[in-house]
């Protein structure tokens, strides 16, 4: 008997080509390798292929990130930055995941990815120039394979997908990873990006830091999904979940997704469970929507303390390392201050330089008008 005789419409796609949703289901609990006291739980599905130097490097990167992050908040309070979006508490999620990328892979970040930027050796002061308005970006994306920070929510997911689709068409074995937050998962752009990525098997990783809040809106008001990772099934990709305050788990889970994508199997979605310890940005007042008690609970899951405990247990942490990192974070902070403090804002005559690639007569009039206003010494 035909399907039609059974009341089934003819399908345009063979059922055997459809993936088994069970293959894409996230685990019941986020992947977790490190306890808060530093106890390590090996997991054969998520091996750690890092030597002692790399383990220490992960810790160092988290320490530098936290120091620069604090410095940025201070600089904003001193009027040196217009605004700043802190990543405090999210260092492990960012650094573990970014560290898993290969040197030729790309990152398409949101505005909160200081940690990921430092993994890609983006100059910290250059990164912060965006927040000063010295120019809107002061790092070369092509030098670091680190895209421009996307301020509108979730748009970078599409850029990463388009980039990954292009790489696949070129036969270039690179992977693109995009970062956004729990709030970003509600925007249309990431949905559409995941649809395209799934259909084209684009080598792109959607790394979502679930830091519990989209400004004031908690996760429960953002989604009714069992977890954010469950959403991945609908786009035909696996949804992974990881303890985002566990740098080793963040690394291992991302590494697994990257290897899979690089082999051409397809994209993946990772939900990293973490907590934004600071305000949404320096313009925000989080006391309006969360309690001090909640914050104190979250502080007990601090990713840096956890990794330090791990290193200590492994005899990889000693006063020499502590001193060296202390010295280095001070040095970086000093460089950040020097790079930001009173950095010039640019000449108003530069206004039209980067609007179009070629000169237009329209601008000639405006340039002349602006020059005239400036020469009169008046308020521009």
């Amino acid at each position: 008997m035909t399907d039609a005789a059974n009341g089934q419409v003819p399908a345009s796609t063979d059922a055997s080509d459809r993936p088994d949703p069970l293959d894409f289901l996230p685990p019941d609990e986020p992947v977790h390798l490190l306890d808060p006291d530093g106890t390590y739980h090996p997991d054969p599905d998520h091996p750690i292929d890092l030597d002692d130097a790399a383990l220490r490097e992960l810790y160092r990167l988290m320490m530098v990130t936290r120091k620069v992050d604090r410095e940025a908040i201070n600089l904003q309070r001193q009027g040196q930055l217009g605004v700043y979006a802190s990543c405090m508490g999210q260092e492990a999620a960012q650094i573990g995941s970014a560290y898993a990328l290969g040197p030729d892979d790309w990152i398409f970040p949101s505005y909160r990815e200081l940690g990921a930027a430092l993994v890609r050796q983006v100059d910290a002061a250059g990164f912060l120039h965006l927040y000063r308005g010295t120019w809107l970006s002061d790092h070369d994306p092509y030098k670091h394979n680190f895209g421009l920070m996307s301020i509108p929510i979730g748009t970078q997911a599409l850029h990463a997908t388009g980039f990954a689709m292009g790489a696949r068409l070129d036969g270039n074995p690179i992977v693109a990873m995009t970062y956004y937050g729990d709030g970003g998962t509600s925007e249309g752009d990431p949905h559409e990006a995941m649809t395209f990525a799934g259909v084209t098997k684009a080598p792109v990783i959607f790394f979502v830091q679930n830091n519990q809040y989209a400004i004031s809106v908690p996760l429960a008001k953002q989604t009714a999904a069992p977890t954010l990772a469950h959403k991945a099934i609908g786009y035909g990709m696996p949804g992974y979940r990881v303890d985002g305050n566990d740098v080793l788990a963040s690394y291992a889970v991302t590494r697994r997704a990257i290897d899979r994508a690089r082999e051409g199997v397809g994209p993946a979605f990772i939900e990293a469970m973490t907590y934004r310890m600071e305000a949404h940005t320096t313009s925000d007042d989080p006391s309006r929507y969360r309690t001090q008690e909640e914050l104190e609970e979250a502080a007990k899951t601090d990713p840096i303390v956890r990794m330090r405990n791990f290193l200590t247990k492994r005899d990889l942490y000693d006063s020499a390392l502590e001193d060296a990192i202390e010295e280095q974070t001070k040095q970086v902070a000093s460089e950040v201050r020097a790079g930001i403090y009173d950095a010039p804002h640019g000449d108003p005559m530069e206004l039209f330089d980067h609007v179009y690639l070629d000169a237009t007569n329209h601008f000639e009039d405006q340039v002349a008008q602006l020059r005239s206003e400036l020469s009169q010494g008046g308020e521009v």
């Binding site: 308005g133 509108p152 521009v380």
Partner: protein
Amino acid sequence: MPAADSTDTVDTIEDPVSTEVRTTTYAKAVAAALRTAMHADERVFMAGEDIGIYGGAFGVTDGLLQEFGEERIRDTPISEDAIVGMAVGAAITGTRPIVEMQFSDFVVNAMDPLVNQAAKLYFMYGGNVEVPMVLRLPGGGGTGAAAQHSQSLEAWFAHVPGLKVVAPSTVQDAHDLLLAALVDPNPVVVVEHKLLYKQEGALTPRATPEDSPAVIGEAAVVREGTDLTVVGYSLNTHKALDAAEELAAEGIDVEVVDLRTLRPLDTETVIESVCRTGKLLVTHEAPTAVGVGAEVVAAVAGSRAFDHLLAPIVRVCGRENPMPYAPALEAATIPQTADLVAAMRALAAEDV
């Protein structure tokens, strides 16, 4: 549903039924209109990002959640497309949605429901479907919020048949035009300049939306003068008035027209003024080219006022670049009062 005694517990909110004249801010005048509307009409509700416990990015909805509850002050997931699209659906079913875009720039994500749906359904369904929704857009620069949080996109909406666009400049108009927008059966976009929110002025609150005397599509001569006509709206009306005040000391008598509504545009008030003064300067913060000002200029050039023109028409509008973040560059992009003073002085001096 609002509890009758709920206002007693919210001390940040003024009594909704009080129509006593008071001095308040633009933001509070908007809030007072929201409260008037929500008390008067159970069909009215709000949706937006962080408008609940947070009170909105600019504090406009502060306290409304406590007063009206989560059903009517709806904090939404982050999807402007869904918020506006939902409002279209809700409006069609007979409710009166008021949407707050957190920043007007975010409305670019919602252009399909706004432009392709809200603006066109009445037309496409032969008058059988109405979309009475209000979309509030905090826009404008000067706040140090850079290229993607500072735009003045009103010309986009004014260009779309089926949408109405209001841009109140005063505390009273912020209140009255919002209420008029709610009474209006069409989708209405309310352009609110972020720098106006803290501006203070006199407010006579209305007890019901229908009490609002504001008429969508009516401009106002906010300062009478004989030497030249300056047409502005929203924040730039204030800049024009400040500049006019400065020039008064030099003996230059400036008439200022506040458009108040950008679509439908009250061209007659402008034409009438230009017929008297013979000179026209148009100002807005949005970029000059293809802005609302171009429509004003075209209306005058194509009218009886043409024969009264004594000098070329001048536009003092935003420059043609994305809004920079750096304060000096941002200031150079936005027309400042000093720019208006200089341009108005030069226009007044044009030989007649």
